[in-house]
């Protein structure tokens, strides 16, 4: 073949070797084999899924840590609760001793009131501003001091409420009973009146949700009045009734009602793993062995001075301690589960990082050797060009 000029070929070769050198250099400098999608479209697409999984794993790890902290706070509250209840048992045992006199028993009852206040504090524990024993109602304290009588803001001689007064459809009125530890929630439908609410309360009393004697009446001031001797907490968002508030001086000593709900919030810590992060306060403090009720009972027994009653009430608190221990088990199990999930996620992260490195990362030894080879090739191309370019017949003719 007749060769006319070597310049285009040399330029092409130099260009090619420089491109290879540039690629090798970029790979070593970035640590990545795939710097743009077109370097390996398939690996780039797989990276999208891998990075999405990675982001989920990172978030699950953060959620795990946050849930663990929250549940450890709940667990601490349980610890304190057990300590408080054990103190109450000691006080009760002391009070049941027939040698104790009335004055001592009153002093013991006062101590126990302090313990009850502590327990309410534990029941209203917050984590980062949210009440952890309120179910999904985390914005307000779940345990509220109960009163015997609540009246509506609306209703007057000029504008009286009556059994026939229509309620606002969709509005919610709830009555939390300190004695039963349960809550009646009445959601008004179209056409419901105060009489409907009164009937619902009567049904709740029959069902045992509310204590016997809980009634809703229209008082002398033409307001709706809801009352219960054992103590209740009433709330309503019905504009017809206005807000419900406790009548001054009707608070019941040592009685607290649960105004939270029974819902459980969960946190996702794995693709198909959700962990319950809260224990609704009613299951711990008012239902079952009724922790709060047993403490109130012991206070009353100490104040009454009957050793048999004190003994029985102390036994009730002992039962409550065991009940609390039972309730604590699922919580502790969840903490254990969160710890093992954290280890799993950390391992998963390592696996994903390895996968990502193999998808788009470089093998350093191979990339370094490629770089050396590319440098060598480039130098050779330049040296060959430098050697060949000045060669011309004219050069020799001039000599």
């Amino acid at each position: 073949m007749r060769v006319t000029s070597m310049v285009p070929d040399m330029q092409y070769d130099i260009q090619q070797s420089q491109q290879t050198l540039n690629t090798a250099l970029q790979q070593v400098a970035s640590g990545l084999r795939v710097n743009q999608l077109s370097d390996d479209p398939s690996a780039s697409a797989n990276m999208v899924s891998s990075l999405a999984t990675s982001a989920s794993v990172d978030q699950y790890t953060t959620n795990d840590t946050a849930a663990t902290s929250l549940m450890q706070t709940a667990d601490s509250a349980f610890s304190s609760l057990v300590t408080s209840l054990n103190s109450a048992i000691t006080i009760g045992t002391e009070g049941a001793n027939s040698t104790e006199n009335t004055s001592n028993r009153q002093a013991l009852a006062s101590q126990l009131q302090g313990i009850l206040t502590d327990v309410i504090g534990q029941a209203n524990t917050t984590y980062q501003g949210a009440y952890i024993f309120g179910g999904s109602a985390t914005t307000t304290p779940p345990f509220v001091a109960a009163s015997t009588t609540y009246t509506s803001a609306n209703g007057s001689a000029a504008s009286p409420l009556s059994a026939a007064t229509a309620l606002t459809a969709g509005s919610v009125t709830s009555i939390s009973d300190a004695t039963t530890g349960q809550t009646m929630v009445f959601k008004a439908k179209a056409g419901n009146t105060i009489a409907t609410l009164q009937a619902a309360i009567a049904s709740a009393v029959s069902a045992g949700t509310l204590s016997a004697g809980t009634t809703a009446t229209i008082n002398a001031s033409e307001q709706l009045q809801i009352g219960s001797a054992g103590g209740i907490v009433v709330s309503s968002n019905d504009a017809v009734l206005g807000s419900m508030s406790a009548v001054s001086g009707t608070s019941v000593a040592n009685a607290y009602a649960y105004v939270g709900n029974s819902n459980i919030n969960t946190v996702q810590v794995g693709d198909s793993m959700n962990i319950a992060t809260n224990v609704p306060g009613n299951t711990v403090f008012t239902l079952g062995a009724n922790v709060l009720g047993s403490l109130s009972g012991l206070i009353s027994a100490l104040q009454g001075g009957n050793t048999t009653s004190i003994g029985n009430a102390t036994t009730a608190v002992s039962t409550a301690v065991n009940y609390v221990a039972e309730q604590r088990v699922p919580l502790d199990n969840n903490i254990t589960q969160l710890n093992s999930q954290e280890s799993f996620l950390s391992q998963e992260k390592v696996t994903l990082t390895t996968q990502q490195t193999s998808l788009v990362g470089i093998n350093l030894a191979e990339a370094s050797s490629n770089l050396s080879q590319a440098e060598l090739d480039n130098n050779a191309a330049l040296a060959a060009a430098a050697k060949a370019m000045p060669n011309s017949l004219l050069t020799y003719l001039q000599q």
Binding site: Q36, S136, N263
Partner: protein, 459 residues
């Protein structure tokens, strides 16, 4: 028997031949680096012999003219390959502009989608935290920005390609006119036996430029070269050139029409115009549809999840995103509908601290959209397509570049100027000239001797 005058005449012809050859060597050296130049060689022929009794005598050398050394077949292959190269380059240039938008970064769609799902997951640990709620809104807005920005990149590229169509058509018309103008000159020069090398080079270069713009079929006729594009639309026939026209079609896209007003946009297969039209009308709309579908379906899925829950104030969840009713244009038009962090419908039981409905949001990440793919899979499929289109255009561009280099080497081996060869020719013709000059000088001295013979006899 030949006379001194005959010898002198032969020597003068020799001088002419050597001088002419030197001139053509000079011209070759001068044009050694001129693009498209085909080397020329002197056509030296032996002079007709003259009978002298029983034998005949040579009459020297005749410079019959110059001949351009060409290989039309390779030239034609170069033109064809140039069409493919320009098409691949047009596609590559656009895809390289689009590629970074879909490359994993801090603000690409994939990253922003993951960030949105992470922010929702984080909200489940503190549903009443206003900063956690604000994070969800911010992540939602970032995803909207990523969709809008990707859509804008595709639209901008499409608009810029649309402008390129008009520019290409204008250049094609200009080149067609120049090629057509050369046809009669070439035909006339060939008819009169003139050297057409320079004109041929000029026309080949123009056809090459035209090949870089569109697919061109070349036919040699008695009236010169005939060029057609598309599926046979004439551009040049003899001395006549036919201008392509443009008109604005659906969606503002410039359409290419032949001289009769027939739309030939779809039949422009290669060259810059072919690559530009293909990228504008097929590649980008394909990507845009996938992007719009993803934006529309993800947006709708979030709105459905919102509607299933209640916000922090106990109200039924409102739309999360403003999603257009039609899929087309969704990625560009999607926007945030929520403005207040409290409006995120995290709760399923109406309480402010409820997180029951967040699972509906999280489920979007793993559930198949109406397209049959999860959001992440749909996006990774889009990423694969962008990467694959760019890689294919790149490979095609590299392959045609290598192939063109090969063809150019082949053509240069025939038509290219070798400085070494021309240097040797220079010496050869210089020596030939010197030798012929010596013959003239010898004949001159012979003439002098002959002339002085008479003078000496007289003395």
């Amino acid at each position: 028997m030949g006379s001194l005058s005959t010898s002198l005449s032969i020597a003068v012809q020799s001088l002419n031949a050597a001088s002419g050859s030197l001139q053509i060597t000079n011209n070759n050296i001068a044009n050694a680096n001129t693009p498209g130049y085909s080397r020329e060689v002197a056509n030296l022929q032996e002079g007709p012999s003259e009978p002298e009794g029983n034998y005949s005598e040579g009459t020297g050398v005749v410079l019959a003219g110059y001949q351009s050394v060409r290989d039309e077949l390779v030239q034609n292959q170069i033109q064809q390959e140039t069409q493919s190269q320009s098409q691949a380059n047009a596609q590559l240039a656009t895809m390289q502009q689009i590629e970074p938008t879909f490359t994993t970064s801090t603000d690409d769609i994939g990253t922003q989608m993951s960030a949105l799902f992470s922010s929702i997951s984080a909200l489940s640990t503190s549903p009443t935290s206003s900063s956690a709620r604000q994070s969800v809104l911010t992540a939602g807005q970032n995803l909207v920005t990523a969709f809008n920005s990707a859509s804008s990149t595709l639209t901008t590229q499409q608009t810029s390609l649309n402008t390129q169509v008009s520019q290409d058509v204008s250049q094609i018309n200009q080149l067609s006119q120049q090629i057509a103008a050369l046809n009669p000159q070439l035909v006339q020069a060939q008819a009169t036996g003139q050297d057409t090398g320079t004109m041929q080079d000029q026309q080949d270069q123009l056809v090459l430029k035209l090949s870089a713009l569109t697919n061109v079929a070349i036919t040699q006729t008695n009236d010169g070269v005939t060029l057609t594009t598309g599926n046979g639309t004439p551009l040049v026939v003899g001395s006549q050139s036919y201008n392509l026209q443009t008109e604005t079609g659906t969606g503002g896209m410039t359409q290419v029409l032949d001289q009769n007003g027939t739309n030939i946009t779809g039949s422009i297969a290669s060259g810059d115009l072919g690559g530009t039209i293909q990228t504008r009308d097929t590649t980008i709309p394909g990507l845009m549809t996938q992007l719009d579908t993803l934006a529309n379906q993800v947006g709708t899925a979030f709105n459905t999840a919102q509607a299933a829950g209640t916000d922090q104030n106990g109200n039924a969840g409102q739309d999360f995103f403003n999603v257009p009713t039609t899929v087309a244009g969704s990625a560009g038009a999607i926007s945030m509908a929520l403005s207040d962090p409290a409006q995120i419908a995290a709760s399923s039981d109406g309480t402010a601290g409820g997180t029951g409905n967040l699972t509906a949001f999280s489920a979007i990440q793993t559930a198949a959209l109406p397209s049959g793919k999860t959001p992440s899979d749909a996006y990774s499929s889009l990423v694969y397509q962008v990467g694959s289109l760019t890689a294919n255009a790149n490979a095609e561009s590299s392959a045609t570049t290598a192939s063109l280099k090969q063809l150019n080497d082949q053509l240069a081996s025939v038509s290219g100027v070798s400085i070494d060869e021309e240097s040797a020719n220079l010496i050869t013709y210089q020596q030939a000239y010197e030798a012929a000059a010596r013959v003239v000088s010898t004949i001159q001295s012979l003439f002098s001797v002959t002339m002085s013979m008479g003078t000496a006899a007289a003395e």
